[in-house]
């Protein structure tokens, strides 16, 4: 259980985090979203005890960060932004160093390192200096380091940055497998990642918490949520579609010819649209229900306008 109360962090005159408060329970997989410079990384640095907040309090379980920092840090696995490591070491040496710091010894240490190396697939590069590894491998070394002691709290700053789609998928699976009774916090720029792995989304902009709920609730904020898009193979009279009950608005994309019907709030319109199409024998070659567009909601939330 992490509890953050009224945390403010100032760097000189610049306010990076401005009055952040939230609780995170075990089982929560939280995605931090936000534009660059919004305070995501600063928040993570405060949560891991790397920097102290100017004001406010961070508690983990029944311990306060400013009093029991080292005790809290034993519970946390952290992948800092950019996955820094000691470049002159090989992944094997590096993981042994981390394991020793984490208090693992002897056979348990070797077994655990072997297990983690397999989880993130580092076998082929174990004895090459980290400096010589590709970005993807460096990131995986960072991940291995973070999960090595099987922490209760895992904080990952942009864990999939620089990975190819296969590796991204792999990391997401890794996070999903970990997170049954743990707290996982990831920050990312990839909006789809949040719906793929998280069960809670926090959007931070200008140091404020702008949104805190499920990925589904985030999608529902989209104008496109439950909207129906269709495409006609040749032009026909579609004016009747806009008149259907429950349809608030219709937009036609001149370029692609795609028609999008927006429902009134909370209405489902797909069956009505379908009936209408059947009755009028409209030449529809494509019809689907939109899931909501995260990028649009994200822009709306972070640029200050409302989503609807």
């Amino acid at each position: 259980m992490i509890s953050v109360k009224n945390v403010i962090k100032k760097f000189g005159d610049f306010i990076a985090v401005d009055g952040l408060s939230f609780d995170i329970k075990p089982g929560d997989v939280v995605g931090f979203l936000g534009p660059n410079g919004a305070g995501k990384s600063t928040t993570m640095k405060i949560l891991t005890g790397f920097i102290e907040p100017t004001e406010g309090e961070v508690r983990v379980g029944n311990m306060a960060m400013d009093q029991s920092r080292k005790d809290i840090q034993t519970k946390i696995g952290y992948l800092p932004e950019g996955a820094p490591a000691y470049g002159d070491m090989t992944p094997a040496q590096f993981l042994h160093f981390i394991a020793e710091v984490r208090g693992l010894k002897g056979d348990a240490k070797h077994a655990r390192i072997k297990e983690v190396v397999q989880q993130v697939e580092l076998q082929d590069v174990l004895d090459k200096p980290i400096d010589n590894l590709s970005k993807g491998f460096k990131r995986r070394v960072g991940l291995a380091q973070a999960i090595l002691h099987d922490p209760e709290i895992l904080i990952l700053d942009e864990p999939t940055d620089g990975l190819d789609p296969n590796q991204k998928h792999q990391v997401r699976q890794l996070i999903q497998n970990l997170s049954k009774d743990k707290i996982v916090i990831i920050s990312t720029h990839i909006l789809e990642e949040v719906t793929a792995v998280c069960n809670r989304v926090m959007i931070i902009a200008d140091g404020h918490l702008r949104f805190d709920s499920t990925p589904q609730a985030l999608l529902q904020r989209s104008r496109f949520y439950q909207a129906v898009s269709l495409h006609l193979s040749y032009s026909a009279d579609i004016s009747g579609l806009a008149e259907l009950p429950g349809v608030e608005d219709m937009e036609v994309d001149m370029h692609s010819g795609k028609v999008t019907l927006f429902p009134e709030e909370g209405k489902e319109i797909v069956h009505l649209v379908n009936e209408h199409v059947q009755q009028r024998k409209l030449p529809v070659d494509m019809l689907f229900v939109e899931q909501g567009r995260l990028d649009e909601v994200f822009r709306a939330l972070t640029l200050g306008a409302t989503a609807r």
């Binding site: 640095k45 891991t48 005890g49 790397f50 920097i51 080292k70 005790d71 840090q73 034993t74 946390i76 952290y78 800092p80 932004e81 950019g82 820094p84 490591a85 000691y86 470049g87 002159d88 070491m89 040496q93 160093f97 981390i98 020793e100 710091v101 984490r102 200096p129 380091q145």
Partner: protein, 242 residues
């Protein structure tokens, strides 16, 4: 924890060419100073005084070179964020780093043993004096090292850390030299003169190089090292996230 950090740091000196280059240069320079400038043979005395006399000047440039990376590099590549979020205190990290670099210095000193063999072959030196001088020299190198590490904590840039460390070390060395003392002589009261001289590494090392390990000299170097390490600790706590 200090031990774990020590092991990593010490290994990293040898994983990169730093330790090898350092030790080689140290051995070459100390050889040159001892034989050509110090005139070990010409003096006709079986001791290592010409060797030890140049140590403050040798350390002045070489120790900042080995100290400059200690914190600057961590801050530059961001690994400090990793280090400081592991359950290691800043104090443990600082001491681990310090002892690792100090061990490299000890190793360099030990590798000058051919000089010791040479004087033993040529005559009958007092080996107790030589051992005492070695210990004194190593103590002094610790003080240089602490200054260098404090300067390294100050900046992300290793070159700046190197230059700052040389400047500060230089002040500590020359404050006991005749050039500085002469400038004060004649007008400043002797108390001032003594105070300035008492800050100098030269003054405190002089008797040590002759084999006298006086408690006040040992304590002096330990205090200087502790103070600069403590300063470095305060700086790194303050600037780690910059």
């Amino acid at each position: 924890m200090i031990g774990i950090v020590f092991k990593r740091e010490f290994a990293s000196f040898f994983a990169t060419p730093v330790a090898y280059v350092f030790i080689t240069i140290f051995l070459i320079l100390s050889g040159i100073f001892t034989f050509f400038i110090g005139g070990l043979y010409e003096r006709g005395q079986a001791d290592l005084l010409p060797f030890f006399n140049f140590h403050p000047w040798l350390y002045l440039f070489l120790v900042p070179a080995i100290a400059m990376r200690s914190w600057s590099e961590e801050r530059k590549n961001g690994s400090i964020e990793l280090l400081m979020t592991l359950p290691i205190t800043s104090f443990e990290a600082m001491m681990g780093k310090f002892f690792a670099a100090w061990a490299v210095l000890a190793l360099s000193l030990m590798l000058t043993f051919p000089l010791w063999l040479t004087v033993n072959y040529l005559g009958n030196p007092d080996n107790g004096i030589i051992l005492a001088a070695y210990v004194g020299s190593w103590l002094m190198s610790g003080a240089f090292l602490a200054i260098g590490m404090c300067m390294s904590a100050l900046t992300k840039n290793q070159v700046i850390a190197f230059i700052l460390a040389i400047v500060v070390c230089f002040l500590f060395v020359v404050s006991g030299s005749n050039i500085v003392l002469d400038a004060f002589k004649g007008w400043a009261p002797s108390v001032v003169l003594d105070t300035i001289a008492s800050f100098s590494f030269l003054t405190h090392f002089e008797s040590m190089s002759k084999g006298v390990i006086a408690l006040n000299n040992v304590v002096y170097f330990l205090i200087v090292a502790s103070l600069w390490l403590y300063g470095g600790l305060l700086i790194i706590e303050q600037k780690k996230a910059d």
